[in-house]
């Protein structure tokens, strides 16, 4: 067997069914590389070897039993049975940590499984551990993790994107074929883009959010990372669908065809014939990397050559999205994060003996700078006298942004293609002191969250050696069509030279002398003045 970490999940499924590989072998191989390289990448906040191997043994027993029962029983196994997966560290796994990247949840142990966890167990997937993230999923670079940043395997001095940067880097570095992330304004698609992997934010309501730490409840959605469309589709299939425990999960059937994306490149490519693709001119914004624009235009031209019909469209309210988002998301966050009061769980400081002072101390010590900024913004936007000017106004703008997209679907387009991120992975620390510059990185992804639409990022080559992501936007519940489009694009670019490349600095992560991202960040803060977050409390 070739190096098991280079296999796609669907290839693992074949080997597991034929008996050429065991889940224990596959899991051991992935654990070994994740454990070895995590110092240099900091993609994982927890790797649970013992639990993973126990799950692998259970999967091996299930597969052996199915093999004894015959071909039908084998076919009924989910393709992820026995396959290692990683979960962003805001997904509850009973008895395990769920820090959400925050000090305030250090030491917290989840008393129950999230629905996505339960569904992955049902499918027989092997949960390897928990991946790094921006604190409470607030950030675009994973630098806002209380447990140190994650490095990008393509360039260890650069960010992996965020907030699901740990999941994206783990998949890019072959630590797991698939990982779970969450996306509130681009937190799956943007790191997917920057790490050169597939990442999908499904339609709002597609995946139950029971058991994940909430950020902004009208925007949050769980979704898959994979190294190709088929693996992402398999993970989406495993976790999707209505759940009694999340009233916002929609009673929309999950298509079984998600597991039947074509394996043949030519068959996949045929999907593009006659497909109508819209190219929104507002997504090619001033300040975007010319290399990103070039790759996106090339990708679209390639699809056109394969038979797609591409037309430019206008989404006229795009430029208002950022402001609307940065009112709505912090407002909802300030409300959701009110639960962190040190009374029922989490960090607590009861030294003052006076309850309000204890709240102030607990929350002041437990939240990091970006979370504090957002809670402040949200509290301000919802406070007396400002509700109409900010929150209500933003919700009205949200209606306009949604109408822009509705008009594109009404005009008969099958999908919208755009850049995922206007820039490639930026250097560690580059945007840390300028929140607005950091927020701008999500300009092309957050309108979809406002509109509730599914979106995915698929690798579309490199610009100056760094991955560029093509964003595919679909109508509500059109994930299957989007994945077919993504699979078609893989088909027509299967022989492109960049497809064969592995992340450029992955080899360095095997070297114990390579600095960790935490060490890199310490060097940066040591050389820059004004790192005063630890100064004396008033």
């Amino acid at each position: 067997m070739a190096d098991p970490t280079r296999l796609h999940a669907y290839e693992m499924a074949t080997l597991l069914r034929s008996g050429e590989a065991s889940s224990r072998q596959l899991t051991e191989a992935h654990l070994a590389v994740a454990e070895k390289q995590n110092r240099a990448l900091n993609a994982w906040l927890a790797i649970d070897r013992e639990a993973a191997l126990a799950q692998a043994d259970v999967a091996d027993m299930r597969i052996a039993e199915a093999r004894r029962s015959g071909a039908d029983a084998l076919a009924r196994l989910h393709p992820l049975c026995g396959v290692p997966v990683g979960l962003k560290d805001l997904v509850s796994v009973k008895g395990g940590q769920a820090t959400a990247g925050s000090k305030i949840l250090e030491g917290y142990r989840a008393p129950f499984d999230a629905t996505v966890t339960a569904r992955l167990r049902e499918a027989g997937a092997v949960i390897m551990g928990k991946t790094n993230m921006d604190e409470f999923a607030m950030g675009s670079s994973t630098e806002h993790s209380a447990y140190g940043p994650t490095a990008n395997p393509w360039n260890l001095g650069r960010v992996p994107g965020g907030s699901s940067g740990g999941s994206a880097a783990a998949v890019a570095a072959y630590h797991a074929p698939v990982c779970i992330g969450t996306d509130t304004g681009g937190s799956i698609r943007q790191p997917g883009s920057m790490c050169g992997v597939v990442g999908m934010k499904p339609t709002y309501g597609r995946v139950s959010r029971y058991g994940i730490v909430a950020f902004a409840s009208s925007l949050d959605q769980i979704g898959p990372f994979g190294r190709d469309a088929r693996d992402a589709a398999a993970l989406l299939h495993a976790v999707s669908g209505r759940d009694e425990r999340d009233a916002t999960s929609a009673p929309v059937p999950v298509p079984a065809e998600l597991l039947d994306l074509p394996s043949s490149d030519d068959e996949a490519a045929a999907y593009l014939k006659g497909l109508r693709i819209a190219l929104p001119k507002e997504y090619f914004v001033a300040g975007m990397d010319p290399g990103v624009a070039a790759r996106i235009h090339e990708a679209v031209a390639t699809m056109e050559q394969a038979g797609a019909i591409v037309e430019e469209v206008s989404l006229p309210h795009t430029e208002y999205g950022l402001a609307a988002y940065y009112i709505i998301a912090p407002a909802e966050a300030s409300s959701n994060l009110a639960r962190f009061d040190g009374v029922r769980f989490g960090l607590n400081d009861r030294t003052s003996g006076e309850f309000i002072a204890d709240y102030l101390r607990t929350r002041g010590a437990g939240f990091g700078p970006e979370v504090k900024r957002r809670v402040m913004l949200g509290t301000y936007a919802l406070s007396a006298g400002y509700y109409d000017a900010y929150y209500l106004k933003a919700q009205k703008v949200r209606t306009l942004i949604k109408s822009d997209f509705d008009a594109v679907w009404a005009a008969g387009f099958d999908a919208i293609c755009a850049p995922t991120s206007p820039v490639t992975a930026f250097p560690l620390g580059a945007k840390l002191q300028d929140p607005v510059a950091m927020y701008l990185v999500d300009a092309c992804t957050l309108p979809l969250n406002l509109a509730g639409l599914p979106g995915m990022s698929i690798p579309a080559g490199l610009a100056d050696g760094l991955p560029v992501g093509l964003q595919v936007i679909g109508a509500p519940w059109s994930e299957l069509s989007m994945l077919r489009l993504a699979r078609a694009y893989e088909g027509i670019t299967a022989r492109a030279p960049w497809r064969a490349l592995e992340p450029a600095e992955l080899e360095l992560t095997d070297d114990p002398t390579t600095p960790s991202p935490i060490e890199r960040m310490e060097r940066l803060t040591a050389t820059s003045a004004g790192a005063g977050d630890q100064s004396k409390r008033t």
Partner: protein, 116 residues
């Protein structure tokens, strides 16, 4: 110390004009204990972010209804029957303080002088 006496502070009505007193008041509303340095930095950063919001005022939205959620689901109901749930012990497993009778021990909120 950030304290409840700040409730009387008046907001400045202009957008993107948050004073230091506003920052202190909002921090208190949000129950965030901030250092002097944090408040100084937030005053600048929040004002910079609020400036980005000004673009919204250029849009006429008088007749546009607000969108609070994007999928057409309403009034999701179920039969009122007992469902399996976690045990009291599990629910209390992360509590900093619990009583012998199986309750969270919460700070006293009556009789003190706190409150906004």
């Amino acid at each position: 110390m950030v304290h409840s006496g700040l409730a009387s502070v008046r907001y400045h009505r202009g957008m993107a004009n948050l004073t230091r007193a506003d920052v202190e008041h909002v921090a208190f509303l949000a129950r965030l204990g901030l250092t002097e340095a944090e408040m100084a930095r937030l005053e600048g950063q929040l004002n910079h972010i609020l400036e980005q919001y000004a673009i919204l005022q250029t849009l006429d939205t008088e007749h546009i209804p607000p969108t609070a959620q994007t999928i057409e689901l309403a009034n999701i109901l179920r039969e009122d029957v007992v469902q399996p749930s976690i045990s009291v012990d599990e629910a209390l497993s992360n509590a900093p303080e619990r009583s012998a009778s199986g309750h969270f021990v919460v700070p006293a909120i009556l009789g003190g002088e706190g409150g906004a």
